[in-house]
């Protein structure tokens, strides 16, 4: 006995809906296409977790930025620092280890920081502008490189002097040596960076040298030993207030980086602009 109910008939018709379908593509052809597409697109599932990806990205940025630095800058920094170590080690009577490091380390770092801000008139600035990384991130990366390098240099010099000058007149522990330059280095670098983002690297270097000249003269007959000299010496020490002020100035500099300078243009673009942006 056959079931000729409408439901049965409808089921048969719907079953026909599944019939008369075209043949699927050949397995070899399809798998080959899939493997090709996979190879061309990479393997997103094998990418590291977001945290590791960010670290890799940061590392890649550091390497890329390091390649853009002129070799002369780190070499000059190392030579100046080495000269200071030699002077103290040979005991030429120009001062203690702490005094020499205090004078050298901050200006070396500030000079490097002055050049860390990249103005738009640099040859590769236009190319860098096309990258998705923001100028502030690039500035932070360059600061990390410059300050990290100068910090390592100063620490190495301090360690060497803490060992080699241990028996001399200017002997001091590593902590004392580091404290002698850490605050001044932070403050002078912040001043240099602030000047660089507003007025360009040349003005920043000049400002850093000028400010540091005042600090150096505080211990000499130029400023004498009056209240002004004492104030200058007090400012250029390692203290929480100095470190905090340095951090604030540094953050301010990063915040204003990329904004138009005091004359309505990027710092360092005073000459040769044919199409002001």
């Amino acid at each position: 006995m056959t079931d000729d109910s409408p439901e049965r008939r409808l089921d048969e018709l719907l079953a026909g809906y599944a019939a008369d379908l075209p043949e699927p593509p050949d397995a070899d052809r399809l798998v080959r296409a899939v493997l090709t597409r996979s190879a061309l697109a990479g393997l997103p599932d094998e990418r590291p977790a977001p945290g590791r990806r960010h670290l890799r990205y940061l590392a890649a940025l550091l390497v890329a930025e390091a390649r853009l630095f002129r070799v002369a800058v780190p070499v000059a920094s190392a030579l100046v620092m080495a000269l200071g170590v030699v002077v103290v080690t040979l005991g030429t009577g120009t001062g203690t280890a702490a005094e020499v490091l205090t004078l050298i380390a901050p200006i070396v770092a500030a000079a490097g920081v002055a050049g860390a801000y990249r103005s738009r008139n640099e040859p590769f600035a236009e190319l860098v502008d096309t990258t998705p990384t923001s100028p502030r991130v690039l500035l932070l990366v360059r600061l990390t490189l410059v300050l990290g390098y100068d910090l390592a240099l100063a620490l190495a010099a301090s360690a060497v002097l803490a060992v080699t000058a241990a028996d001399g007149d200017g002997a001091a522990g590593l902590d004392v040596l580091v404290a002698s330059w850490l605050g001044p280095m932070a403050l002078l670098s912040a001043v240099s960076l602030l000047a660089a983002v507003r007025f360009g690297p040349d003005v920043a270097l000049g400002a850093a040298v000028a400010v540091w000249a005042v600090r150096v003269s505080a211990g000499t007959a130029v400023l004498g030993d009056g209240w002004l000299a004492r104030l200058v010496l007090e400012v250029w020490t390692t203290s929480p207030a100095v470190l905090a002020a340095s951090a604030v100035a540094g953050l301010l500099a990063v915040a204003v980086a990329g904004t138009p300078g005091p004359w309505g243009r990027e710092p360092g673009t005073g000459r040769g602009a044919t199409h002001p942006v």
Partner: protein, 185 residues
């Protein structure tokens, strides 16, 4: 599809996760007919269905390692296929509207015949093609993919009761459409 076939599928999928292209080929051969039929019914044309099928197998190749065995392999495959179809078909432009239809007698096929031809050449296919998308999806998974209602519910992420309800309404709509076609003839 429980049983030995299901075990084989799971073994194949583990091999795919390990980068075995031959296992991918075997897995494809086992399910190609139903997968392609399902995608063909969703897409409406062979070329688009082939593209979605390729997207699906690419997704399987890349994410086989994420299969945890909580559903059967066919259910998982159809879930992947449905997602890929949704991704590709949602960006498809809607058909061009008619402009200035010619006011002339035409000896060619009428709208119904064109709809039937576009939907696979049968009145049933044309009727299913006129269903709302969520009803068409259930019909394709039940009748073309041949999945049990529980698996359809899993693929669509809805309760089995909702699948039954959609299927009931889809069948009623198809029956009404077929009756209307017979009356008009």
């Amino acid at each position: 599809m429980p049983g030995a076939g299901s075990d084989d599928d799971a073994v194949l999928l583990r091999a795919v996760a390990g980068g075995d292209a031959a296992a991918l080929s075997r897995l494809y051969e086992r399910h190609a007919g139903r997968l392609f039929g399902y995608l063909y019914r969703l897409a409406g044309d062979r070329m688009t269905a082939e593209e979605i099928l390729q997207d699906t197998m690419l997704a399987v190749w890349r994410s086989a390692g994420r299969y945890e065995g909580r559903s059967t392999v066919p259910t998982w495959l159809f879930g992947v296929a449905r997602r890929q179809a949704h991704n590709r078909l949602r960006t498809r432009p809607s058909p061009e509207p008619f402009h200035d239809p010619p006011d002339l007698a035409d000896a060619g096929p009428g709208p119904d015949e064109l709809a039937i031809a576009a939907a696979g050449g049968t009145p049933v296919a044309a009727a299913v093609d006129r269903l709302p998308e969520h009803h068409r999806d259930v019909v394709a998974l039940v009748f073309v993919a041949g999945l049990p209602l529980a698996d359809v519910a899993e693929v669509l992420g809805i309760p089995v009761g909702t699948v039954k309800s959609r299927l009931f309404h889809a069948r009623a709509a198809v029956a009404a459409e077929l009756v209307a076609q017979e009356v008009s003839e």
